[in-house]
Amino acid sequence: MFSCLSGPQTLGKGPLFWVLFFAAVIAAASVPLFASSFAVQNFSFFLVWTFMAMGLSLMWGYAGILSFGQTAFFGLAGYAYGVISINVGDAHGLTWVAFLASLTLPVILASVLGYLIFYGGIREVFVGIVTLSVTLVFETFMAQTAGPEWTIGDARLNGFNGMSGMPALTINLHSADFIFDGSPFYWLLLALVVSAYLGLRVLVNSRFGNVLVAIRENPERAEMLGYNIRFYQLIVFTVGGFFAGLSGTFYTLWGSYITPSSMGLNAAALPIIWVAAGGRTDITAVLVSTIALTWVSQQLAIYGSQYALILMGIVLLLVVLFAPNGFVVSVWRSLSKRSFDREAADAVREFTSAAK
């Protein structure tokens, strides 16, 4: 069922998986009905990061491009939303215009940067260094925009202290304004996370996805088979940048605040940790691991006192040592050991038939 959603590039297929998935979505959607408003906002916080992680999974897990600078797109989108929405205001549905406009900037930056990188022949670890440098340049630059001259229209960039005061997404009706806050914000976010997840599943299980994996495995061979690998890499990089930007805009909406430290070294490493720990080669694994790890690290910070960070480090070490493909992937594989061989045979059959 929904064959375009499943395939050899993603874990989980068949009616059981989809029933469970559907049940999980229903459960998630019903959280606001019985949980406190704090719990809803807190859970929104965990969801915010999943876009960036899934985009990174696409780039790194499927196409083999390790970008250390996704936070550059995150920050750019966040600041863009801030600047645009503060200037245009929240009447006439303009916050949605700001929202969409804020996403175009990371897409533009990602395509320009991607062009420079991939059509310039930069590969492997050098991509990581270049993208890291980009995000650090942004952070260093933005941190010093504290002065009054750093104002775009009505919006003060406010440097290291961060920009706040941007309006929430609003639908302007004749009678009153409907503000996307609390539960509506959560439902909007959840809907987009599910759509992004399903969309990415379709993408990676399509022909496009197969080519990505081929490029990851052996770029020269893919090139010799006639694929324009730079073009694919550029597309993937741009999509990854878009998703990072989506996280950035939602983070800014969630906290009504964006700061240069969101683009710093520690922030840049986090998505890589979530993706690597969960299993970068699978979208589902990354979605689960991002939510799980952000939740775990928050719980540790609350209850672990000064040992919180040490415990987090130990958790990550155990994961990397004992779950070589990521903890979600490893758990999955061990749960479905018997069907794994059958899956492998299916995959071979599919691939050989697709190649014909």
Binding site: L116, F126, I129, L136, V137, Q144, I272, I273, G313
Partner: protein, 292 residues
């Protein structure tokens, strides 16, 4: 005479930036440049070396001996970590990101708990000298020489000694090296330990000039990665030119436009250099010679 002083002052700034880049990167050059392990805990090896140096010096040891202690302790920690953790990751080097990141946060927080938020520091030795109305720190003036000496020693180690040749062989083709009788396990251990010890030496050398805090590694980590990556595939060959190029640009920009432009300029230069030489500096110069 004035021109000479001016030239020396400019050269001093360049050399200062150069030695910082070389010394930041030298430990990582071995661990990442040669072994391929993406060591996000590199800053913490530096911190370990610095802390042990400071504690030994304050316990009464003369500074050179304290620095040796710092270096050795960091090397020891490296050996232990290699045996316990890093060893399992050679087949999957990307996972070294998570593992070393975890080690990094454990080390930083652990040091905070054990030794407190900061340590009383030690003085920079040797005093100062004056030229053309400007006074300079003697210690910082000789650090570049130390950096170059270190590089030279490392080059000699990897090119002229048995250990070095075995090490490079094991990195290049482990299977073939093993077939030729090289004990790759021991080599990996020792090489990683060497890289850790070099990072510890960096910490030891800079300890008298900086505040000793658990997060002090963060002052080096970005510089170390960019210098090592820009140096390309053959790290030993590329490290000095890489550091020289980056230091030159950074010193010029800082001198004329201030620290902000210097910092941003360094990062932008990295982007441009990688764009122009996508396989790093040594890759660019070696590509004609057929060396991998």
């Amino acid at each position: 005479m004035d021109l000479l002083f001016y030239v020396y002052a400019a050269f001093y700034q360049f050399a200062d930036a150069f030695s910082f880049l070389i010394l930041s990167g030298i430990g990582l050059a071995v661990i990442f440049g040669m072994m391929g392990v993406i060591n996000l805990a590199h800053g913490e090896f530096i911190m370990c070396g610095a802390y042990v140096t400071v504690l030994s010096a304050r316990a009464g040891l003369p500074l050179p001996l304290a620095m040796v202690c710092g270096t050795l302790s960091s090397g020891l920690v490296g050996l232990v970590l290699e045996r316990l953790i890093i060893r399992r990751l050679y087949q999957r080097l990307f996972d070294s990101i998570v593992a070393t990141w975890a080690i990094s946060i454990i080390a930083t927080q652990g040091m905070l708990i054990v030794a407190g938020p900061s340590l009383e520091g030690i003085k920079t030795p040797f005093g100062s000298f004056e030229l053309g109305g400007i006074s300079f720190s003697v210690y910082r003036a000789i650090l570049p020489a130390v950096a170059l000496l270190l590089l030279g020693a490392l080059y000699w180690l990897f090119v002229r000694t048995r250990f070095g040749i075995h090490s490079r062989a094991a990195m290049q083709d482990a299977g073939m090296a093993k077939a030729l009788g090289v004990s790759t396990d021991a080599i990996y251990s020792k090489t990683f330990g060497l890289g850790a010890a070099l990072a510890g030496l960096t910490g030891a050398l800079y300890a008298p000039t900086m505040t000793a805090v658990p997060t002090m590694g963060s002052a080096f980590i970005v510089q170390s990665f960019v210098t090592v990556v820009v140096s390309g595939a053959d790290v030993m060959l590329g490290l000095a030119p890489s550091a020289a190029a980056l230091a030159l640009i950074q010193a010029l920009l800082t001198g004329f436009h201030g620290q902000l432009i210097g910092q941003i300029g360094l990062l932008v230069t990295v982007i441009l250099v990688v764009r122009i030489m996508p396989t790093g500096i040594s890759g660019f110069f070696l590509r004609g010679s057929g060396t991998k």
